[in-house]
């Protein structure tokens, strides 16, 4: 794992993965949208409204997946002081926040016709809203210090504390009675969802994950390039300062 902490090696590997992840994202999302909107059956109870699920459920998975990834990167950054791990955690946060937001909005749009309400304060919905606030808090905290390293450290600790919320979201529907239905895909006794509806769901989930890899690589490359630029500028200023110094001394004497 420590081998990948070297930015030069990371960039080489990232350049190899990038075209593949773009291809997987485009193909999986293209096929996934086709299946979700046209080539899958309507539900026996929900009718066409079931199609919201193909965006809603993979978004919810992404919200939890990105947060877990962010917490793992933050732990690596805190324990082994890998600057790259910090960078990847920060790059993951907005992706996870966006998908969590999409999950909450699509859930509300589904809830109005099906349940009869946009929002209720049950355990699943509330813990998902808390996840969004954790993302926003993480991003705000990481940028709240003049010294970026201190911000990173504080935000990494917040990410680790907040990770207890992830299992709470997953099992909230089993631990407490909620308005939200229990899990359909990852549950004991196999999925309770028809195979024809599973296809678009899995395609969308794969496409979203590949999208995250693409964004992660793009942001990491941009950040590494930015860091290089800063180092070069600092060196330039430093060199200019050294040139000016003797002249100033001459003028003073």
């Amino acid at each position: 794992m420590h081998r990948f902490a070297n930015p030069a090696r990371f960039l080489r590997i990232a350049a190899l993965i990038q075209p593949w992840s773009v291809a997987v994202a485009v193909l999986a999302l293209g096929a996934g949208l086709w299946f979700s909107l046209f080539a899958s059956p309507a539900d026996y109870q929900q009718g066409e409204t079931v199609r919201i699920m193909y965006i809603h459920v993979p978004s919810a998975w992404m919200g939890m997946f990105c947060y877990t990834a962010m917490a793992v990167f933050s732990a690596m950054a805190l324990i082994w002081k890998h600057p790259l791990a910090d960078l990847l955690a920060r790059a993951t946060a907005p992706v996870g926040a966006a998908f969590t937001f999409v999950c909450l909005v699509t859930g509300a749009l589904w809830g109005k016709p099906m349940w009869g309400t946009w929002w209720v304060w049950d355990a699943r919905l509330t813990s998902m809203l808390l996840l969004l606030f954790l993302y926003l808090g993480y991003m705000a905290l990481a940028d709240a210090f003049d010294d970026p390293e201190r911000g990173q450290k504080a935000a990494a600790i917040l990410a680790l504390v907040g990770v207890v919320n992830v299992p709470i979201i997953k099992w909230s529907v089993d631990w407490w009675n909620t308005l939200h239905q229990p899990a359909s895909v990852v549950k004991m006794g196999g999925p309770a969802i028809d195979a024809a509806m599973m296809v678009p769901l899995i395609l969308m989930a794969v496409g979203f994950k590949a999208y995250w890899v693409v964004v992660l690589i793009l942001r990491a490359r941009a950040e590494i390039a930015g860091a290089k630029l800063r180092t070069l500028r600092m060196a330039q200023i430093h060199a200019a300062g050294q040139l000016e110094q003797p002249r100033a001394e001459q003028g003073g004497s």
Binding site: I79, P113, V120, N177, S184
Partner: protein, 152 residues
């Protein structure tokens, strides 16, 4: 012990402590986190109902939906006990006999005066044809209730 190991143990211990704290808080607040009470809890008076706005959840008993003018009467059951409910308002699309519902309101002389009725969806997703063939072959385990005339 190197500094890296010390930080590793610190992070692991911290996570365990936070996890334990969350578990304790959630166990202590169990009664407040549940979204609704079952008919059994209300009939056996396990929860204070007098003058309190509460939520009652369960299945709409088959054959219990009766329309009376602007309001509708039905019974919410969990298999063991049942509570009669009266409600005046628009029912959600998924409301039907045998379907899960969550109603919010007050208990009044043994009848639940609902101010709001929400339909609860289950975790089963299938096309209409699959549901029909399951019903035909007698393997149907869901509610299978048809929308009662009164709820239309």
């Amino acid at each position: 012990m190197t500094r890296k190991q010390r930080r590793l143990y610190f992070v692991v211990l911290g996570l365990l402590a936070v996890g334990a704290a969350a578990a304790l808080v959630l166990t202590a607040l169990k009664e407040d986190i549940v979204f609704f009470f079952s008919p059994t809890e209300i009939v056996e008076a396990k929860v204070p109902t007098e003058g309190r706005r509460i939520r009652l959840g369960g299945l709409v008993e088959t054959g219990s939906v009766v329309k009376e003018g602007a309001s509708v009467r039905f019974t919410v059951t969990d298999g063991a006990h049942a509570v009669p409910v009266i409600y005046a308002g628009i029912l959600p699309d998924l409301f039907r006999e045998g379907q899960g519902v969550v109603t919010e309101g007050r208990m009044d002389k043994g009848t639940f005066q609902a101010a709001e009725v929400l339909a609860k969806h289950d975790e089963n997703y299938m096309p209409k044809e699959v549901a029909d063939s399951l019903k035909k072959s007698g393997q149907w385990q869901g509610d299978g209730g048809k929308t009662p005339e009164a709820a239309k």
